[in-house]
Amino acid sequence: MADNKISTDMWEKVDMSTLDKEVIARKSLTYWQDAWRRLKKNHLSMIGLFFIVLMTLLAILGPFFSRYSYSDQNLELGNIGPTMEIYQIDDNDFVYMNKEYKLVEVTEDGHISKRLVPTDEDMMQKYRSYEIDGKEVVIDYSFAVAAKKSGDPDAKKFEIRVNGDVIDIHDKVFNKTYWFGSDSLGRDLYIRVVYGARISLLIALVATIVNFFIGVLYGGVAGYTGGKTDNVMMRIVDVIATVPLLLYVIMLMVIFEPGLKTIMIALGTVYWVNMARLVRGQILSIKEQEFVLAAKTLGASSWRILVRHLIPNAMGPIIVSLAMLIPSAIFTEAFLSFIGLGVNAPMASWGTLANDAVAGLRTYPYQLFFPALFISITVLAFNFLGDGLRDALDPRLRK
């Protein structure tokens, strides 16, 4: 056992400076980098984000791709759909017949030239005749009444005769002049939808700013101050929250003229209350945590504690709630416009476009389809993004 003894000269002292102090190998990620990494894994919200970016680009750049402005109208070329069934009269002459059995001159690939003037027209006999390149083109729509009575949607309603011979559909082409078709006044639906996107995104922006600056700060101050101040501030919120938005907008119309400004004022004054409540709740739970006490012992002012410590730590729920509030604001604007309390003609929002389309819904369904599609896509995209953000910003799911 004696030889097992370890003498001091068998040891060598390690120079402390050669030792690494504890090294962290993991790449440093900030909170937002980490959240972005997790958000990227959620395909649905990435699709949502993609559509939001696309919609924003469309709203900004869309008008540059169109020759028309949202108010340009051409009464002769109203109610032409995004796809057209064209007929060939002779080699170079193609026509499109609209739902009123009137002919419009088009090119083979779908550009609209002009409305043709009939040479003869008889409403009683239900026919209309044109002269194109020396050929007599007759539209006989006397079958329409019988077709309607039969109840068969495929029944023959009309025939087009060129020099006495019945011709058939030549081709179905996309409308190259009005991509989304034209409305009853011959305005380009595409550019009107783009302007609608501008209004909707503007509303989204206003809702965001209002929620952020009024809602977050109001809730933050109420939650952090606490006591009587909190009580009074939250009762004010309760009062605002009880007034129905619709009633409120109508009352505002008395003071301001109807329009986008009124909607923005209405949303701006009432839309932050939910955010204020949410932030107050968050702040109440965070403010008792030790890091807030630590900041207090360091002598930090209340404002500094609120802005540097409390609000950043409540950011997750704030962002999520924001992403959920934006579609609701867009939807509210569309709804108010739809019932006629929104933007004024000729300005277009998705709500007014939908409203205009309702009258001719059975004949011209595309006029409702496009604004409805854009409303749905935008609202869905924000909702998907909000869902993904909720998961990505929840630190309990952090891996």
């Binding site: 440093s28 030790e290 002598g299 930090a300 410590h309 730590n313």
Partner: protein, 336 residues
């Protein structure tokens, strides 16, 4: 630690009370109070460590937080270096925010997870305008170094650190303003034993190096014995015994202190088997309706009639040994 020739009192707490209002009733009637800290007095000398022990909920942390004015004291005086700071406004208090600092219990909750370690430590430098730019960075690196972390850690976020490292960051934050007095609110309770020793030894070294004064709040008696010069024992918002650490362990006078000390595990089976543990009956009474007279009487095996009627006062029975118990009147008669 033991070489305290300095007898100058740095902090004196006189009749400090902190009541929390609860159960306000519907119209603000029927108010009730949690008497978290009820009329306690003690002092801390410059450069020494006063340990404060007691079971959970006895008001140790509330005492610490009231001294640093995180809570507004209900009554009493907090005299720091000759000035009563208990009623100073937040503005007048600012110089004292540099002198008095605090280390918190939970290393996970006490660091803001949205700030880098450099910003956490440097925040007080910004608030008090101590250093900016390169000087601020230099100081942050220096502080990290002092607590055994490296300067690479400044750009990291708290979640990347272990509990012990986080507690070091908390200590570096407290040291940033060059404080004189640090309240350690159970700084080691949330750490495992091996790390506890590291942190306590570091606090010890820092005290020697910078001449710091500590109020060390804990419930681990052996750790408190290791670091403290004097120890105060609290029970239900009251200070029941204050004395030198060796005297407390050798000759505890208050029945509650005796019970506490008998509960310290001894790492020797032979001794443990023969040791007599004092087991306290019942639970700690509610601090909303504390018992009349001596608050410990409901669980005390020596309780007398007098204990229910008269509240014992903290009185010096031996030199530097203060006890609040009626039993002491017999053992150490009042000599006046």
């Amino acid at each position: 630690m033991s070489s305290k020739s300095n007898n100058e009192v740095l902090l004196e707490v006189k009749n400090l009370k902190k009541y929390f209002e609860i159960n306000k009733g519907f119209f603000g009637r029927s108010k009730e109070y949690v008497q978290a800290v009820d009329d306690i007095s003690f002092f801390i000398r410059k450069g020494e460590t006063l340990g404060l022990v007691g079971e959970s909920g006895c008001g140790k942390s509330t005492t610490g937080r009231t001294i640093i004015r995180l809570y507004e004291p209900t009554a009493g005086e907090i005299i720091y270096d000759g000035v009563d700071i208990s009623e100073l406004s937040e503005n007048d208090l600012k110089p004292y925010r540099k002198k008095i600092q605090m280390i918190f219990q939970d290393p996970y909750a006490s660091l803001n997870s949205r700030m880098t370690v450099g910003d956490i430590i440097g925040e007080s430098l910004d608030i008090h305008g101590i250093a900016t730019g390169a000087a601020r960075q230099e100081r942050v690196f220096d502080l990290l170094n002092r607590v055994g972390l490296s300067k690479d850690h400044a750009s990291r976020y708290p979640h990347e650190f272990s509990g012990g490292q986080r507690q070091r960051i908390g200590i570096a934050r407290a040291l940033a303003v060059d404080p004189e007095f640090i309240i350690c609110d159970e700084p080691i309770s949330a750490l495992d034993v091996s790390i506890q020793a590291q942190v306590v030894n570091m606090l010890d070294d820092l005290q020697k190096e910078y001449g710091l004064t500590y109020l060390f709040i804990a419930h681990d008696l052996s750790m408190v014995k290791h670091i403290s010069d004097r120890i105060g024992v609290m029970y239900l918002g009251k200070l029941v015994e204050v004395t030198d650490r060796n005297e407390l362990y050798d000759s505890p006078e208050h029945p509650y202190t005796q019970a506490l000390l008998s509960a310290i595990p001894i790492p020797d089976p032979e001794v443990t088997r023969n040791a007599q543990r004092i087991i306290l009956e019942g639970d700690v009474p509610s601090p909303i309706n504390p018992p009349s007279g001596c608050r410990f009487r409901t669980r005390c095996s020596y309780a007398m009639e007098r204990c229910a009627e008269e509240e014992p006062v903290l009185r010096e029975v031996n030199e530097g040994h203060f006890v609040a118990c009626h039993l002491m009147d017999e053992k150490f008669p009042i000599t006046e």
